[in-house]
Amino acid sequence: MTHRHVAVIGAGPAGLAAAEAALSAGARVTLIDSADQPGGQYHRMLPDAYHAARPERLQHGWRAFDRRRRRVLAHPRCTWWPDTSVWALERPDTEEPGVPRVHVLRGPADGGRRRRLTLDADALVLAVGAHDRVLPFPGWELPGVFAAGAAQALAKGERVVVGDHVVVAGTGPFLLPVAASLLEAGSRVLEVLEANTVGTLARGWSRRPWELAAQAGKAGELAEYAALLIRHRVPFRAGRTVVEARGDGRVEEVVTARLHADWSVVPGTERTLAVDAVCATHGFSPQLELPLAAGCALRRTPSGEFVAVDDDQHTSCPGVYAAGEITGVAGAPAARSEGALAGWLAGGGDPAAPSLRPLRRGRDHGRAFAERLATAHPIGEAWPGWLRPETVICRCEEADYASLCRAAGNEASAGTRVTKLETRAGLGPCQGRVCGPTVAELTARLTGRPAERPVEGLPAAGPHLRPIAQPIRLGELAAAPEPSPDNPTPQAG
């Protein structure tokens, strides 16, 4: 027993592996997820009420996941908090570095009568994952246009398919499992469109081919998806994408077009296709609210910002570890290696333990794989070419491209913060989770300056800075938090 108490936030592949490793290091673990079941996005489980006889049919690596899930949740030193959203991390005194206090709401999502609790642990493992990044295009706000992850979540988690005649478009290997899930559930997938050209894909994937051998599992999974597309005669086209969705109150057709390597449209290649749903994805955005609240430093990469971690998955904040998609997008196997490493060390396990060697190797292969993904599936420079003045950029506030251009042209307002106030982009209910990276990128382009210039007296307004990670009702905020029964630390105010 190490007598340490580790709070693991997120029970996806990374968090579940972290919990298991921390337990085996002898620590006590509180495993927290806003969902009612563990698994995260990759091992999204069917509801208990479905009594599924063959859940493994929808999952890769179900047996190993199922074993781990049972072992962790039944462990005497593990406390499992499902339906629990971490809405804030509160840093102790800045003078006195320490592990942030975890503030949670327990109960059904966005419910009015959730319990508000706090938790103080000796170490935190943040494993909160990512969500789809979707670039705007004319008509993307029409009902029937979905982030690809939504189609995946509905098909895998509820057995609901989003449409009968579907186009899956964007970039990245995630297009394939999404198409596979739709086919499995009986939709017709008309086309799978990878925006990057064959040249870009080949350059990205053929560089250092020996690295791929380390990802044999992933490669096998991809080959399986490819075979499925062939069997269902679904065309997979590279260098083509959806540049517009049209319809009266819902999507009825899409316009697709061929793209150059920089994603500029090849004139005259537009084609119109009748559809009842579109699934789009242009990569993933890590959920950085909690790492930022904890004070973790970020690292900038060509495909976006991620939590910076050292070789031990330790962030720049004492006692705070990070694992999985928030440190880089490399898929579930890498998330598991990172999680296990983070959990073991957070739990006080021996950093020289021989069992860490394969984990570190898995993590390093994952990092190499992430880099490869980023080179093979970049977002082309010229994508704003498919925007029109009236194209919605911020879905919540319906701020359009023209208003963003106007704000950018005004010298005084050419920074994200002022652009936000002027156009309201990023100020709606989603708080810029969807449009944030896009607005930052477009603003930088339109003004020729980085968007995140610090304004006098204020820190730079990064697109991920949200003091409140999950919505909390004013009534809940007003109620005094209870200390966790699991953790009788005296509470201040």
Partner: protein
Amino acid sequence: MSPRRVRAEADAVGRQEGPLRIIVDGEPVDGIAGQTIAGVLLAADRLSWRRQRSGAPRGVFCGIGVCFDCLVTVGEDRDVRSCRRRARDGDVVTTQTRQAEPGQGREAQALRTREPETGP
């Protein structure tokens, strides 16, 4: 045809269906136990149930609680992400709008919508 549930008899995962009925704007809508409210609405062929300021219809977009396009009122609780909330039999769901009624200014809209605005 549009969104729908895979038929239980044809479902490779071999699942069972328990009946569930929710009331949406006064009308009964049938789903099955375990579904989210968004899942029930989609499978009942409702693709949108919320209106934006401009009047534009919205439904599910991200499916995992990130975009807030799918908000509904459940009982007394406003602004519930329907893609994240499991439906319970008898739930009374009211659809929401941010659309201004004619003659109402921005303040009136803000009061009516009371959507979380917690930005920096």
